[in-house]
C-alpha cells in the first residue's frame, strides 16, 4: 500500500512541532508497586522511535499515561506540548494501537471503525479507505471476533489511521504479524515518519525492533536505561570472535590498547566494543596471524539482556 493513500493530506500539512511527545519525571505507582519511576524521554518527528524493555518494564503503562488513559502519580506526559486529554482533535493528532482485543467481537470490523469515526466526526468513506490501506477490505463485514491475530492488529492500525494523525503510538504491533507483515509494517512506519510525522513503537524483542526503528529508548523496571540510535545500541553490543594460534599474546595486546577481551577459549577470543578493522590492525602491529575474524550473530539479544538484565538492576 502507498503511504500517500494512508495520509493523503500530509503534503499540505504544516511541519510537526518537536518534540512530538515529551515525558518529564513521569512516575506511576499502583499501590506499593512502582510501574514507572522518574522517566523522562522525547519522541521527535521524522524518525521511528522504538520503546524497548522486557515484559513488565512499564512500557504499556507509560504509553497509557501519554494517551490520558492512566493518570500519572507524578510528572507529566504531553503530546505537542499538551496533555492528551486537552488536545482539540485527538484523533487527528495521535493514532494509537494498544491491545489486539479492543472491539466487540460480534460487531463487524467496518462497524467498529464507523462507530469510532462517528465519534471523531470523520466521514464513513474514510473508514473504507483505511480498511483498504491495511488490507482488510475483504473481511470488513465479518464479525471482528472471527479475525486472526494479524487481522486484529491490522484492524487496530486501521482505527489508528482513521483521523490521518501526525503521531502513531503502537504497543507491540509486531505481535501476531508474519515476516511479510512485519516488513509491511516497517515500510508503513518508515514512510509515515519520512513525511515528517512521529512514531513511537514498543516491543520486548530487540531483533524485531532492529527492523522497525531508527531510535531506541530502553527501559527496565520503570526506569530509563538508555536512549540512543539503534545503530549505536547495536554497535555498543557488537561482539567479535577472533581465531588466532597466539590468543594469549593478542589478548594482552588488545587489553593494553583498551579493547575488552571477554573470554578466551583455546584459539578463540571474544572481543566486545571494537570493530573488526581495529582488532585486525592490532594483530598486524604485534605480528600475530589471524585465522578468523567474525561478528557474532546473536549479539543483539545479548546486548538487550545485558542492558535490562541482572547487571543493570
Amino acid at each position: 500500500m502507498s503511504v500517500n493513500a494512508m495520509n493523503r493530506r500530509s503534503i499540505e500539512r504544516t511541519p510537526l512541532g518537536s518534540p512530538a511527545i515529551s515525558v518529564r519525571g513521569l512516575t506511576k505507582r499502583f499501590g506499593s508497586v512502582r510501574a514507572v519511576e522518574d522517566l523522562s524521554l522525547e519522541v521527535h518527528p521524522g524518525v521511528v522511535t522504538g520503546f524497548l524493555g522486557p515484559n513488565g518494564a512499564g512500557k504499556s503503562t507509560t504509553l497509557r499515561m501519554i494517551l490520558g488513559l492512566v493518570a500519572p502519580s507524578e510528572g507529566s506526559a504531553t503530546v505537542l506540548g499538551m496533555p492528551y486529554r486537552s488536545l482539540p482533535e485527538p484523533t487527528r493528532t495521535v493514532g494509537a494501537v494498544l491491545e489486539t482485543q479492543s472491539f466487540n467481537p460480534l460487531r463487524s470490523g467496518r462497524n467498529h471503525l464507523r462507530v469510532l469515526a462517528t465519534a471523531a466526526g470523520i466521514p464513513d468513506r474514510r473508514v473504507d479507505e483505511v480498511l483498504e490501506a491495511v488490507g482488510l477490505e475483504s473481511a470488513a463485514r465479518r464479525n471482528a471476533g472471527t479475525y486472526s491475530l494479524g487481522m486484529r492488529q491490522r484492524l487496530g492500525l486501521a482505527a489508528a489511521l482513521l483521523g490521518e494523525p501526525r503521531i502513531l503510538i503502537l504497543d507491540e504491533p509486531a505481535n501476531g504479524l508474519d515476516p511479510q507483515g512485519i516488513r509491511w509494517l516497517r515500510d508503513l512506519l518508515r514512510g509515515f515518519a519520512a513525511e515528517g510525522n512521529a512514531v513511537l513503537v514498543s516491543s520486548h524483542v530487540l531483533t524485531e525492533m532492529a527492523q522497525l526503528a531508527d531510535e531506541a529508548i530502553v527501559i527496565n523496571r520503570g526506569r530509563l536505561v538508555k536512549q540512543a540510535s539503534l545503530s549505536e545500541l547495536t554497535s555498543d553490543s557488537r561482539e567479535l570472535v577472533v581465531v588466532t594460534p597466539e590468543a594469549v599474546r593478542l589478548a594482552d595486546a588488545l587489553h593494553e590498547r583498551g579493547v575488552e577481551v571477554m573470554t578466551r577459549d583455546g584459539d578463540e577470543l571474544h572481543v566486545s566494543g571494537a570493530d573488526p578493522a581495529r582488532v585486525g590492525m592490532v594483530a598486524f602491529e604485534i605480528g600475530v596471524p589471524v585465522l578468523g575474524l567474525a561478528e557474532k550473530e546473536s549479539s543483539l539479544e545479548d546486548a538487550f539482556l545485558e542492558l535490562t538484565g541482572e547487571d543493570a538492576r
Partner: protein
Amino acid sequence: MKNQIGSEFRKLVTTRSVYAMLAGLLLVVGLGVVAITTGGEPGSLSGPVEHQTFMNASLTIAPLFGLLLGLRAFTDEFRYGSIVPTLLVSPIRRRVLGGKLVATAGGGVVLSVIAVAVSIAIGVPILIVKGMDVTWSIGGLAVVVGRLAGATVLWTALGVGLGLAVKHQVAAVAGTLVWILAAEGILSGLVPHVAKYFPGAAGFAVVGLNPAELLTPALGALLLGAYALVAVALGSVLMQRRDIT
C-alpha cells in the same frame, strides 16, 4: 457532543446482543399477554385497552430491559476492551457518559413503544376472538406509553451509572437483578413501609402498578430519578479517577 451521541447510537444498532435483548423482550411480553388474555375471566378483560391487565406484561418487563440496556452500555466496553479506542477518540470521559445516557435513553423509549405495540397487536385480536368489546382512548394510551417510556428511560440511566461504577458485567447484571427481583420482594414482606421507597418499587410506581401499596407515579418518578442521579454521579466520579489498564 452530537458526534458522541451519534457514535453511541451507532454502537447500539450494530450490537447483536441488543437485537437478542429486543427479541427476548418481545417473547416475554408476548407470552405474558397471551397468558393473561386467554386465561382471564371475561369480567377481568373489560374496560379500555390501556387499562387492561394484559398491559402489565409490558409495564413490568420493558423497564427491566431498559435497565439491562443501561447496564451493558459501559460493562460491554470494559468486557471487550473497546473502552480503550472509545476513550482515545473521546478522551473527555464525561462526554462519553453523556453520549451513552442519551443513546440508551433513546433505546429505552424505542423498547417501550415496541413493547406496548406488540402487546396491543397480540392482546386485542385475542379479546375480539373472545367476543369482548374493545375500546380505547388515545389520551389514556398516551399516558400509559408516556409513563412506561419515562420509567424505562430512568432505568437506563440507573443502569448506565451502575454499570460504570461496577465495571464488571456479570457482577453488575446479576447484582441488580437479584436486588430487584428477589431482595426487594423479601424486604417488602419484612419492612413494607420502607420497601416502597426502594428503586424497584419506585419504578413500578411510575408505571402505575399496584397503586394501593406503592407511591404515586409522580413520586415514584422523582424517587427513581434520584436513584438514577446518584448512580450516574457515582459512576462519573469513579470513571474520572479510574486508570484504564
